[in-house]
Amino acid sequence: MGGVGVGALTGFGVVCAVGRSVAEAWPRILAGERGIGPLTVFDGTGQRTSLAAEVKGLVVPSPVDGSVWSRSDAMAFEAAREALAMAGLDPRRVRVGLVVGGTTSGMLETEELLARMHADPTARQPTPDMIAHPLSATADRLAVALGPFTRARTVCSACSSGANAFAIGLSWLALGEVDAVLVGGTDGLCRLTFTGFNALAAIDPDPCRPFDVRRRGLSIGEGAGFCVLERPAAARARGARFEAAVVGVGVTSEAHHITNPAEDGAMPAEAVRRALASAGLRAEQVGYVNAHGTATPLNDAMETRALVTALGPHVERAWVSSTKAVTGHTLAAAGALEAIFTALALRDGELPPTVGLEQVDPKCAALRHVVTRQRADVDVALSDSFGFGGVDTVLALARADRVDALAVSRRSVYVSGLGSASRLGALSGLENLALLGEAGAPVDPLSGLDPAKSRRFDRHARLATVALAAAGAVRADGAFLGTAYGDPDGSAAFLARVFEKGPRLAPPADFPNLVPSSPAGHASIYLGLQGPVMAVADLSASGEAALATAWEWIAMGLTDSACAGSVEGPSVIAETCLAPQFRALEGIVRPSERSDGAAVARLTSERSEVEVLAVAQGVDGAAVLAALPPPRECASIVVAEDDAEIAAALAGSAWAAVPRVDVLRAAGRHEGVGGFAFVAACARVLAGEVECALVLGVPRGRAYGLVVSRAR
């Protein structure tokens, strides 16, 4: 394994049900004041409960530039602004990156419109109301309001999204891509998630009681948490104060079930072990665990077993609490908010309680529960976050005075498998050279799937599974899949049903498919993958963004191998409404006719014939090309489409004279073409057609360049 180093926490920002700043919220979390009260942001008639942990007094800005903000955006803005101010950082003066974890983004604001679009074809047209809908919308709003940021990324792994944003931020610091990075998560209340958890019978009608024998499920909350991470030496050099740092990360997947955790807690325990090992820490040093602690019967018993397994006899020493009884479950924000609460506990030597825990469940009795605020000098603490599909992330934090310099080592990343699923069929390895040819008669790529194992999959998940299998995914692998919009048609159908028939008749099995990370989650279960699994979103560069994330994680030792690329499913709403609108914003001139497919490369730290030599991300093509190595002899550039934007970006660069090929004609048009371009580029190098190849994606406002080469 490599080393991902240390991220000093120099700034925090908090928005949750008990406060819209650290100063307001933290004393109330320590005091155990519940933020759970009547639901007001939408009508909760027909739900199991009309209680939620709402953020009070939030004003959603309506900027003069005409951009549309969501509740998720507004909460993220307040938290991110507070974190930057506390750190005393000006993104105009230093290289600051941005990583946002999210699951629903502007869902609340677009729910009624989506339901209308489902029923009425005339409602399906580009409209400013949908600008807040894509998962990456928050990052785009923050870049304008608080930036510029040198690079931005959006990640979704359901309820561990916020924690994985920290992992990405750490990798950027370790790679030296940024001087500081703003990381966090945001999720506003919406009907989709509230009704979905209601349909899964996962909501307690009363305020939630983590670890209590009477617990019946979660209380849904909303919020945003953002942190500034910096390299400790750099933070000290500029005189920035910090009392805690993120020192380790462990990420695993259960490959078990799309909504239920495996009862033995084996993979969450493995995530704890990896978090400690990556920080060079031992189980006996852990003094506090901020638990995932959702208060569902399954989670809390499973999490207890996981902590007992991972910490062994030392579990008796570590205090444990769940702050979700105060803030509600804030979904994508939870991992970020709880990392902040963990850091504040280390700073103050005071631990927040699990409110409502009065009769400890015998299945949770092995833990040392914090039931009222507790003074305790803790040096090392953990923050657990587990998501749908069994995506487990554990962050290890330590007091600043205990932070030693951890070795940072960067590994080479190689390509050992290629797979795609599209109208060209299922293609493996060199068969992917067909991506650069002409389209023939369409071939069904899904015919090889086991119908019983894939019965709950939507088409996105089926395409992803076929592509990952064709790339030769194995048990230890992760999966990083780019997606621009997730599944808007699935969300629209679900919401139309909720509006028409009421929450009781919401289909529970459809809900998990509406989380953007579900194709990767389903595929991991089908194929038994136990590495990090998540979706990455950046509009038309989502495939490139996912590949860049996987490359960074392998280079810095967060995982040894992963399949990465893109998946886009069929979507009438994307074709008629979202794609035309966002392609116009991104400066992409293409007809809106839209295909679908998935394409991934298996990346690994084990040496093979093709190496991913360099990956660069920036806000424009020129900056990205300047950061990449020059072409070797016999090079090629693979792009989605050879258009004016590409030509303009390449003009004057070292790559200007290199011949270009495009993948759109054969693979079809959609936002995931970057994944297809990368797979095609690797196939060319592997076949010996060229010595090296550049994949370039330069939609307006975001740019990625990835160079693959024959390994030397």
């Binding site: 349909a199 239920n260 709950r456 009781r504 099995a509």
Partner: protein
Amino acid sequence: MSDSLVSELKSLIVRELNLEGRDPASIVDSAPLFGEGLGLDSLDALQLAMAVEEQYGVRIPEGDGGRVAFASVAALATWVREHGGASKG
């Protein structure tokens, strides 16, 4: 007790739980739906309860009551009948 309600429920199970390629008639009336037997899980139980409520206007309780109703297709038919369920479809 093979009757039209039992056959209807078998088709409903195959359709709602996407048991592609499974012939509804091949589901044994008395075989357990969950665990062994059809091999369904708790997410299927929730989906099936929702579908039965929509189709017949009968609520299947969570917990022990649900275990009785979901013991087998025959038990489910009995539950629907005893709770005054009428097909809306």
